[in-house]
Every structure is written in C-alpha cells, then in structure tokens.
C-alpha cells in the first residue's frame, strides 16, 4: 500500500500549475491580485529583458562586448519569481537571471556598464556578462561553477533565522545543477535546518547540449524535494502569473517558519547557452518552433489584451521606450574607459598585502617603460 501511496504523490508533482492558457484565457479562481498598472509594468519589463537579450547578443557578434549569456524564453520564470519577494529578501542567482536583476531594481545602466566591463562597473570589470550582483538590493554576485550558490542561499537563510530576521532567500539554478553535489548539500542542509529558502529551478530543458532526460532519471525535478523532507512544486515557467503565485505561496510559507520549497519552473531556453554556443548542433528547429508557440511574452500579452488593458498602440510605444532605454545605456557604457590597472590588485583582500604591492609596482614600472 505504501508503494501505491508513494506513486500517488509522485503523480501529483507531475501536474503543472498553469493560470494563463496559451490563448490568453485565464483560470480566474487562480488569478493573483495584481493591479493593472503592475501587470503592465511586468509585461514591459519582460519586453525590456527580451530586447536587451537580443541586442546584447548582437553587441557580442559585433565584437563590442566580450561574451553574452542570455535568458531568451525564461523571462516569465525569472520576473515572476523575483516579483514574489520583498526588498529585504536575498537572491542568489546562477548566471542568466537578467529578468530577476531588473525586477530587483538593478538599473539597466549599471548592467550595461558591466557588459562593457568599464570603469563605472561596480565589479570593476572582473566578471563575465550577467555574473553580476548588487549589495544594495541583496542580489548576490554569481559565479560560473554549477550549484555552488545553493548552500550559500541556505547559509544566509540560516543566519537570518538564527538572528530572528523575517527574510527568505531565493536561489536560481538550472536543471543541470540538480546533478551537481552542491545541489544535494544545499537541499539537505535546508531540509535539516528548515531554512526559509526557495530553491527555484528553471528547467529550461538543456544544460548546454544535454537534454533534461539525460540529466536525471526522475520524471520531474520537483519530486527530488521529497528526498530532503520538503515540498516540491511544478509550475509552467512560461506563465508569469503561475510562477508568481507558486513562488509567493512558497515565500509566505518560508517566512512563517514553514521551511524550504523546491520549485521547478518548466521553461525553455530559446536562445543559445551562451554567445559561444550553437544550439543547432543538439536540438531541432521543430522543437524550437513548438516552444515558440509557448512564448511567455506572447501569452502574457494576449492575457493583457483580453483584459482590455493593452493595445497595439501600447505595444508599439513600449517597444520604442525599451529600445530607447537600451540605446541610451549602450551609448553611455561604450564611452567609458576600462578600469584602471590598480583595480587588478584591489579587493583581493581588505588591505593590499606586501606581495601584491610589490606586483602592482612591477606592473606600474612596466607601464612607464612602454
């Protein structure tokens, strides 16, 4: 009997929460309470992220920025989840969460300075594009190793819990990260200490070239939470309202000492893994076409149009606004020179130790000798 019960629970987690149907129709009893202005702002933000993504990849192709790692197709998953947080909550990103960054309030201009790795980049030109963070909005700077950020999110949540702060942490990762050892470490510690942590997995179906079926033998990612003693939920990641609702419920639960949740947002990486990747090598055009039918922007726009709060005039104007914003950010960032050579040596430690002073002097001498 217990075996059957287990199967029953597994089947439950296969269900995918969807609020906006592909037609734009909405399951009204599930519709979250969000004002019309906010709905429109969220849509414009999705559009900004989409246009930024397209432009940034072009900038890379033109040799104006070094590298790009985008989020085409994952805008709803990122913006919907980040929108469910309070400003005092912390985000631990993977490396393609452009939507979460902009929703969080990181200015587009700052991000563009980072893309151009210029002297105004607060990270001083030290990280690849979108490996970005901002202390002022509790958005922790990311890294390229996979899943290392999961234990960090658990540790910060644990620290907050010990201090009695009512904050939650949300950590982004892909389905590929669920194979990495720190996924296990993070999930396990969170389960044991019941930390207020949201594990937000964007299952975008590919880890570079490896499809999700080859990444794991479980039917879903969400079911993995069972092994750690907490709930896993599955949501249509291309439906911003479903993502928001699912995340909000998990966040509220975590904030009231209900412990962690794993959310699997089922989405699709419509672009390449990075500017160095050619997805044609490992996936068919037909598959891409199918997912383009589920484009999160198209669906949300239809929803807004059915509500009569969005028109083709609004659409045109928003396209112009977002592109103008992006143009302005590029024009500024491209003019700024790169960081000074001193920044090669600062921030290794709080203070410059003797050997770095010596090496800095060597570099300065070399610069003079030129």
């Amino acid at each position: 009997m217990s075996h059957r019960n287990n199967l029953g629970r597994l089947t439950l987690t296969l269900e995918l929460l969807q609020i906006i149907k592909p037609s734009g129709e909405c399951v009204e009893q599930m519709e979250p309470e969000i004002s019309h202005d906010e709905l429109k702002r969220l849509y414009k933000l999705m559009m900004l992220v989409r246009n930024l993504d397209t432009r940034s990849l072009q900038l890379q192709r033109q040799g104006r920025i070094g590298f790009y790692i985008g989020c085409l197709g994952q805008e709803a998953a990122q913006i919907g989840s980040a929108y469910a947080l309070k400003p005092e909550d912390w985000i631990f990103p993977a490396y393609r969460e452009v939507g979460a960054m902009l929703q969080r309030g990181i200015p587009l201009e700052d991000l563009m300075n980072q893309y151009f790795a210029n002297a105004e980049d607060v990270q001083k030109g030290r990280q690849l594009m979108n490996l970005y963070g901002s202390k002022s909005v509790n958005y922790v700077t990311g890294s390229a190793p996979i899943a290392t950020q999961l234990p960090h999110a658990v540790g910060a949540a644990f620290a907050a819990k010990l201090r009695g702060d009512k904050i939650v942490t949300l950590v982004y990762f892909g389905e590929g990260a669920t194979s990495a050892n720190d996924f296990h470490a993070g999930m396990n510690f969170a389960g044991v200490y019941k930390t207020p942590t949201i594990f937000f997995c964007q299952n975008n179906h590919y880890a570079i070239s490896l499809p999700v079926e080859r990444q794991t033998a479980t039917q879903t990612i969400a079911v993995k939470a069972k092994a750690y003693g907490f709930e896993g939920q599955r949501v249509d990641g291309n439906d911003i309202l479903a993502v928001y609702r699912t995340t909000k419920e998990a966040v509220d639960r975590a904030r009231s000492n209900g412990g962690p949740t794993l959310i699997e947002a089922v989405t699709y990486r419509m672009g390449p893994h990075s500017s160095s990747d050619d997805p044609k090598r490992y996936r068919s055009n037909q598959e891409l076409d199918e997912w383009q039918m589920r484009d999160p922007l198209v669906r949300f726009r239809k929803y807004l149009e059915r509500k009569h709060i969005w028109s083709s005039t609004d659409e045109e104007k928003a396209q112009e606004d977002t592109n103008r914003q992006i143009d302005a950010a590029i024009a500024h960032a491209e003019k700024i020179p790169r960081p000074s050579i001193e920044t090669l040596f600062t921030d290794v430690y709080a203070e410059l130790p003797w050997h770095l002073q010596e090496e800095f002097q060597e570099l300065k001498d070399e610069e003079v000798g030129r």
Binding site: W90, F92, D121, V122, Q123, K124, R126, Q127, L131, G133, S134, K135, V140, T141, S143, A144, P145, T148, L150, P151, H152, A153, V154, G155, A156, A157, F158, A159, A160, L162, R163, T169, N181, D182, H184, A185, G186, N188, F189, V192, T346, D347, V348, Y349, A350, E351, P353, W354, H355
Partner: protein, 324 residues
C-alpha cells in the same frame, strides 16, 4: 597565566571570542555534544547552545557553503573540517567562492570566516588522517593561511583570525595538539597574521619551519649547537601572506638556508620560499638552499617515521650547507 595544551588554547580562544562576539557561530561535524573528535570545541554547546554551536550533516562542501552564506549575511562562522584530508569536497567552495567573493563583487560582498582544521602526520593515521596540503591553499589569492606551533600562538593567531576582514584557513598541527604545552595568558591578546617569529637566534644557518615541524627544527638546532654550528630557527606562523622581511633578515644574517615541512617536497611551500630568496638575494647565499620535506609519495602508515622529517635529517642538511 595558565599552562595549556595547543588544543586547549584553541578551545579557550573560541570560548573567549564567542563571549565577546555574538556573531561567531561554530559549526561542523560532531562539534556540539561530542565536543569535536579532538575536543577542540568541548564545552561550547553547553555554554552557548545549539544555535551557536551547530552540528552539521556530513558534507564538507555544505559546511563551507553554508558558512559562506552565513558570512555574506553578516555572521562570523567558524566551520571545522574534521581532518584536512577531508577538505576536498569543499575545495570548489573555498577556491571558487570563498576566496573570490570580495574580488568578483568589487568589494561589495565579503565573507570573513575562519576554517579550522587539524592537519599533519605523526599520529599513525595513514593517508586519510595525516596529510599536510597547505600548498593548495597558499596558491589561492584571497585566502590567508595560518599555522600555529605553540599554545601561545594558537590563541593569539586564532584571536586575530576571528577578527580578520578576510577568510582565514587556520591549520592546527594535530600531532602536537596535546604534546606541546605552554604558558598562555588568561587575558586577551593577539598575534598578528603575516608576522613570522625568530624563535632561536643563530649565525651560521637558518631553518624556516612551521606547525609541528617547528619543534623538529628546534631539536635539530640544539643538536647542531653541540656540534658547534649556530642555527637560527624561524617559525613562519603565517604562510599567506608570509613575512618576507623576517625571512630575508635571517637569510642576510646566515647565508645558509634550510626549509623544513612535512608536506611533500615538489611544489610544496618550501619551493616558494626558496624561489623568493633566490630572486632577492642569491649572491648572499653561501650554499644551496635545501628543502627537508616529506617524500613525494602518498602519506604512508607503517613507515610514517621514515616519511616524516626528523631532527637527524634536518641536522644532516644543516651540516651539508654549513660544510658546503
């Protein structure tokens, strides 16, 4: 003033600093009610409770990973890795995350924490309870690496580490956890990170050592003295950033250099010291620099006494450079 063993000095320092700083959280495997397998955290959970002395699941990358998260949030975690030989699952967290946060975030995010771990051989622990792999971590910009050799320094250096602004790897020589006793002031004091100490003055040869090997160096210096060779012994105490001034002063004074460590020789920390001396002052040397080190084998069990440098081996090296 109390007479303490090295492990007692560590224990008292943790207790004293935890009393002064509520942000300090000790965590690791068996650190709570068990007091740590070497008893370094004995009594802490009774005084500070399970929210400040946290037993963790058995996963080193998780221990260091959550410690990083806690430090980012503003606490000062002190994770214990039960044996340095078990630190490798956390290597990615230490190398890619802990040591890089300040730099990669442009100084926005920092994680000052102290990783404590017992290292080194001489306890018949075989391969997985004996290694001395400090060189991996000295090769990591962003970390500080500290190794005390006496109870006095254990307290002073650990106090400094617990107040440092950067992550510190605090390596405890387990062979001398209980065999070395010494006077330790009861009151608060620090020993600065980055400063070596001349523990014995001499004019003919200098031996640089740290951790358990410091005592082997001193023993060898005494043997040499009875043979009429005056040996200076320097306890490096901090390997990153090491104290180049004290090192070079002893090189200038003696012109003959031995570097002693139990870690295997190739690419060991001695190689760095030898290179620094050669780059700065090769013409001052009266003899080749000699490294006395563990052999380039995995750490053995039954032949551990042959693997570990002893005073006789050091003495032979001293005589060799003296008679060169």
């Amino acid at each position: 003033m109390s007479i303490l063993t090295l492990v007692q000095a560590v224990n008292h320092t943790l207790r004293d600093e935890m009393r002064r700083n509520d942000n300090i959280i000790v965590l690791g495997e068996d650190v709570g009610v068990d007091g740590g397998v070497f008893r370094a955290t004995e009594g802490l959970v009774q005084e500070f409770g399970p929210n400040r002395v946290v037993d963790t699941p058995l996963a080193e990358s998780g221990i260091i990973g959550i410690s990083i998260g806690m430090a980012l949030y503003g606490l000062r975690p002190v994770p214990e890795i039960q044996f340095m030989d078990f630190i490798y699952p956390a290597f990615d967290q230490i190398q890619s995350e802990l040591a890089k946060f300040r730099y990669r975030s442009g100084g926005q995010f920092v994680c000052p924490l102290v990783i404590r771990t017992p290292y080194g051989g001489g306890i018949r622990g075989s391969h997985y309870q004996s290694q001395s792999t400090e060189a991996f971590f000295v090769h990591t910009p962003g970390l500080k690496v500290v190794i005390p050799s006496t109870p006095y320094d254990a307290k002073g250096l650990l106090t400094s580490a617990l107040r440092d602004l950067d992550p510190v790897l605090f390596l405890e020589p387990k062979k001398i956890y209980r065999t070395v006793r010494g006077e330790v002031p009861d009151e608060e004091y620090t020993v600065p990170i980055g400063k070596a100490k001349v523990v014995r003055e001499g004019n003919d040869v200098v031996v640089f050592a740290y951790g358990a090997m410091l005592h082997v160096a001193t023993e060898a210096a005494e043997l040499a003295a009875s043979a009429g060779i005056s040996v200076e012994v320097v306890d490096l105490r901090t390997l990153l950033p090491f104290d180049i001034e004290t090192i070079m002063a002893s090189v200038q004074k003696t012109g003959r250099v031995i570097i002693l460590h139990e870690a295997c020789k190739t690419c060991g920390f001695g190689a760095e010291i030898a290179a620094q001396i050669a780059e700065r002052s090769i013409l001052r040397l009266k003899a080749p620099i000699i490294r006395v080190a563990g052999y380039d084998t995995p750490f053995p069990l039954v032949l551990e006494d042959k693997y570990m440098p002893n005073a006789k081996r050091v003495l032979r090296a001293i005589e060799k450079v003296y008679n060169f």
